[in-house]
């Protein structure tokens, strides 16, 4: 009898990964402002508070606006870069792609500070728009990564076949390429939306004080009496994130099934 050491270890690791998230709903329904055991009884008070919080509503609206704009812009930028990099060979591709992907490996605080200083010295006032600029910078590499694999799994001869059968470059893009990479585009948009919604550093430094979800949460966590509200809000956010991710994964897999490529699994 072999002891499945690795399996037990992995399950333990998953427990470690999940435990901060699992205790979130516990305290979201706990009737106490202290986050400690023993539990004090069931309440939906915190959810009511969240529902009726005007600042939170504003923050949510701002965040959805920023995340939506970020998702669209990053995906457009990502599509262009991924297409250029997979379809054409040119010398400038490597350095330009390196620069575009750089935010993935650059400490975010440095990027945010550098951008902040330049925006201030150029005289661009901080606003939701400047946050969107920063978020597009952060999200574009993720969009590029997802879309590169979508374009790579596209057989070049499909495109040639469309030309051969009488279509021009634009109709080929519309009739063949776009439908085949559409799942990748949707999945890139969902991922960028999620990253933007969650992002804190850029939102904190490049904003003008207009609340965003992440900065709002950060602010609330500083006063203990508001913490249970954040537990409730966090519970809702976890639920929404899981649904968005499941959707993204669904589209990604459907894309793979369409182009007939074997699933290599997972994001990134």
């Amino acid at each position: 009898m072999k002891i499945p050491v690795l399996r037990i270890y992995t399950l333990g690791y998953l427990l470690f990964l999940y435990c901060p998230i699992v205790i979130l709903p516990i305290f979201a329904f706990n009737d106490s402002t202290a986050l400690a055991f023993p539990l004090q009884g069931f309440t939906t008070q915190w959810f009511h508070n969240v529902w009726n919080d005007a600042v939170l509503a504003k923050a949510l609206k701002n965040s959805l606006l920023v995340a939506g704009a970020t998702a669209v812009l990053s995906t457009i930028f990502g599509t262009l870069a991924a297409r250029a990099n997979t379809r054409y060979q040119f010398k400038a591709a490597a350095p330009l792609m390196g620069l575009i992907m750089l935010p993935m490996v650059l400490p975010e605080i440095i990027m945010a500070m550098a951008l902040l200083v330049v925006l201030l010295s150029v005289g661009i006032p901080l606003s939701l728009f400047t946050i969107i600029l920063g978020h597009v910078l952060v999200c574009t590499p993720f969009a590029v990564a997802i879309l590169t694999s979508a374009f790579q799994s596209l057989d070049k001869s499909l495109e040639e076949a469309a030309y051969d059968l009488g279509e021009g470059p634009f109709s080929t893009f519309r009739l063949i390429i776009l439908p085949l990479v559409m799942p990748g585009i949707i999945s890139a948009m969902l991922i960028c939306f999620t990253i933007s919604l969650d992002e804190f550093i850029v939102a904190n430094f490049l904003g003008s004080g207009e609340p965003l979800l992440s900065t709002f949460i950060y602010g609330q966590l500083r006063s203990p009496k508001n913490v249970p509200n954040i537990m409730a809000l966090g519970t809702i956010l976890v639920g929404v994130s899981v649904i968005l991710l499941a959707l993204a994964e669904f589209f990604r897999r459907r894309g793979l099934a369409r182009t007939g490529v074997k699933d290599s699994g997972g994001f990134l």
Binding site: D155, S157, L158, E160, A161, A162, Y163, D164, L165, G166, E167, G168, S171, L175, I176, P179, L180, A257, R258, T259, G260
Partner: protein, 366 residues
């Protein structure tokens, strides 16, 4: 033989460079209307590149490509009277079989019903009636191949280009498709240009074959002439097997060439029918195919000449046996193929035997 037919495609000194790499080195050839033409060669010889210059997917560095008498340098692929069957078939995975086949009819002014009928006819032609509603992804390799054919032929191109269309199929299916492609070509009567690295496939299917090596056409001939009288030893080796014996040319006169062949002695060959290649400084060589010489079993009389030999290797193939024999007076063995007719023994290694041959079956490379 077929030279009375009009020319469909003409290459005039076509050159193609990829950076420093010289992919096509001065291709000049004509392909006739209604011909089944093959581009045959090892991988990297430029055959696919040449096919793609006809389709318009590759530009050329210099030279002229004419399709039906028209210079196509400025004509993009979507406006050329050619259609292509891709090596990977390039079936659009998000469309149904019917949508794939009808893809090229989008700008066709006919009514939707007429187009649907055309799709049905095209599917029937390739034996896929009733498959129109299926998802293209659900098809087998052979079926994809047929969809690709129907999709190209529905546009009634002047030329159908086939880029190694059978290489992804298994042996049985490949042989069936070969016959089917010949039938289709006779039925539609248009020019088929096939790229293949499989010499057998080219021999079976083609009216004429261009054998390509390193970006050049080494020989362009009918399958029979290619096999019987290859221009170079390289062509001879690429198409089937050929045995070589060194030879000295003694004299040439009145359409006859007298040679002294290692192992075979002095012979006279027909300068018209048996001599190939252009004169070169390197010595001449005699070549013959394995099936043109024969082992003589006990009491069998030679049809023409005979030479003694020793069996060095025996390879048994069921219907055939291949013998490597060392002819007396030579230093390297030659290969003979013998049909295993009933009652004929398989010889052992080391057996002394007589080999019957005929000067008429020999080819002189000079």
């Amino acid at each position: 033989m077929t030279s009375d037919k009009p020319t469909m495609i003409e290459f005039q000194d076509v050159q193609k460079y990829y950076g420093d790499y010289h992919a096509l080195r001065g291709i000049s050839a004509t392909i006739q209307a209604g011909e089944f033409f093959s581009l045959l060669g090892p991988s990297g010889c430029g055959k696919t590149t040449l096919l793609r210059t006809i389709a318009g997917f590759e530009g050329i560095s210099s030279g002229v490509v004419l399709i039906d008498g028209k210079d196509v340098a400025a004509v993009p692929p979507n406006q050329r009277p050619t259609n292509m069957v891709f090596q990977s078939y390039a079936i659009f995975p998000h469309l149904t079989v019917a949508q794939n086949v009808g893809f090229g009819l989008r700008k066709d002014p006919r009514s939707a019903a007429d187009k649907a009928r055309a799709v049905d006819e095209a599917l029937a032609m390739v034996g896929l009636s009733g498959y129109g509603g299926r998802a293209a992804n659900a098809l087998s390799g052979g079926q994809r191949q047929r969809v690709a054919l129907a999709r190209a032929l529905i546009l009634k191109p002047k030329v159908l280009l086939l880029d190694e269309p059978l290489s992804a199929l298994d042996k049985k299916l490949r042989e069936n498709m070969q016959v089917e492609l010949i039938r289709l070509q006779r039925q539609v009567g248009i020019t088929f240009i096939l790229v293949t690295h499989d010499q057998e496939e080219a021999l079976v299917m083609s009216d004429r074959i261009a054998v390509m090596f390193e970006g050049q056409i080494a020989q362009l001939d009918s399958p029979e002439r290619l096999y019987r009288l290859p221009k170079t030893r390289a062509v001879a080796n690429f198409i089937g097997t050929m045995n070589f014996l060194s030879a000295n040319i003694l004299s040439e006169a009145a359409g006859l060439v007298e040679v002294d062949v290692q192992g075979f002695g002095r012979l006279q060959l027909d300068a018209q029918k048996q001599v190939t290649g252009s004169p070169s400084a390197n010595g001449a060589t005699i070549g013959f195919r394995p099936e043109t010489a024969t082992l003589l079993f006990d009491g069998q009389q030679p049809s023409d000449r005979e030479t003694m030999a020793t069996v060095e290797e025996v390879v048994y193939y069921g219907d055939m046996t291949y013998y490597d024999v060392l002819l007396d007076g030579t230093s390297a063995p030659v290969r003979l193929s013998m049909r295993n007719v009933f009652g004929r023994p398989v010889l052992d290694i080391g057996t002394r035997t007589r080999v019957g041959w005929s000067p008429g079956a020999l080819v002189l490379f000079r």
